[in-house]
């Protein structure tokens, strides 16, 4: 599976495990864009995790709009695990979009991330 190298993947057992604060902190850590990729609606192994994730992404977009970063930097996509081709496609899609939006205002203002990226590496 070929996709652009600018993507850092963080695996979770279910997108329901992703809290709103994680989405915001990713931007504090210097991310220019964040994508949440969950199972197709109705297919969640844990029944509704991906539905909660969508609500949190929605709220995250509102917050990002209000604090001056722009909600377009955050998106949620629904895929099944077999859709490798589609995954590569949406990564290209969001990369393109974020490139157009430019670097995150956080990095523009400080010249760097608010927190060192090394903290995130497992």
């Amino acid at each position: 599976m070929q996709y652009p190298p600018n993507v850092r993947i963080i695996e979770v057992p279910c997108t329901g495990k992703v809290d709103l604060v994680h989405l915001l902190m990713a931007f504090e850590y210097g991310a220019d864009g964040v994508m949440v990729v969950g199972c197709m609606a109705g297919d969640c192994h844990y029944s509704a995790g991906n539905l909660y994730a969508r609500k949190r992404v929605q709220r995250g977009k509102e917050i990002l709009d209000r604090v001056g970063l722009g909600g377009d930097r955050l998106e949620m996509y629904n895929l099944s695990s077999g859709m490798g081709g589609r995954f590569a496609e949406i990564v290209r899609e969001i990369t393109e979009k974020v490139r157009e939006l430019g670097p995150s205002p956080v990095r523009v203002a400080t010249g760097k991330a608010m927190r060192p990226i090394a903290e995130v590496t497992p």
Partner: protein
């Protein structure tokens, strides 16, 4: 429990925009249960404020903490050593907690971060509704366990009014008619005789109308 909602982010930004060091103080009590002001919400608000200040090009420090509850000075005292470091505190506690915090640290700017709404129950996650008006003299024994002061829009004691429409309140079809509920409940309990007797005017002096209230339990105080 007390039910609250987070204040709109714009409103909080407007309150703190000129400060450099802000502490977000959550509460593990009621506001945690209704997901408005607990540790999770404090972390989100702190992160949002940090992002805001940073992209404005301002060096600002925003930290978060959550106390067991803010309506108890024993827990508020835990902040004593920390507060000097901050210009302002945004408290996510209910109105009681915000006030107590401000009373204890009266030289500190303490702003509310939630809107305290009512005493209510959890129907589902994210769906809370009002049940009690804290009138100070509970009449639930007479009304089959349903309170007309909290659940009738006109707080009638001899309801329903003539606007009750298909079991719903005239002001909003999503609000059940409190008196229709009471009537049906009394019928189920075989207590419809309570519906027939006129109820005398209420003594409102035990509620908010009588002035700010206090409970003094001499049996608990030494």
């Amino acid at each position: 429990m007390i039910k609250a909602v987070p204040k709109p982010l714009e409103e909080v930004l407007d309150l703190v925009k000129d400060f450099h060091k802000v502490l977000i103080a959550g509460c593990d009590g009621c506001v945690t249960v209704c997901e408005a002001g607990g540790m999770k919400e404090a972390k989100v608000l702190a992160s949002a404020l940090r992002l805001y200040f940073t992209q404005e090009g301002r060096a600002a420090q925003v930290d978060e903490v959550s106390l067991t509850r803010q309506c108890e000075k024993e827990y508020l005292a835990e902040l004593a050593d920390r507060l000097d470091a901050y210009d302002a505190v945004v408290s996510l506690a209910c109105g009681c907690g915000v006030q107590y915090l401000a009373e204890m640290y009266s030289h500190k700017i303490i702003y509310p971060g939630v809107n305290t709404c009512f005493l209510g129950v959890n129907e589902e996650r994210g769906l809370y509704s009002e049940r009690c008006q804290a009138c100070g003299h509970c009449i639930l024994a007479d009304t089959g366990g349903i309170c007309p002061i909290a659940r009738c829009s006109k707080r009638m004691l001899n309801g329903p009014c003539g606007g009750s429409e298909k079991g719903k309140c005239e002001i909003n079809p999503e609000i059940p008619c409190g008196w229709e509920l009471i009537y049906e409940r009394l019928k189920t309990l075989g207590q419809l005789d309570r519906f027939e007797k006129p109820v005398d005017p209420k003594d409102w002096s035990s509620s908010r109308d009588g002035g700010p209230r206090k409970i003094v339990r001499e049996d608990l105080r030494i």
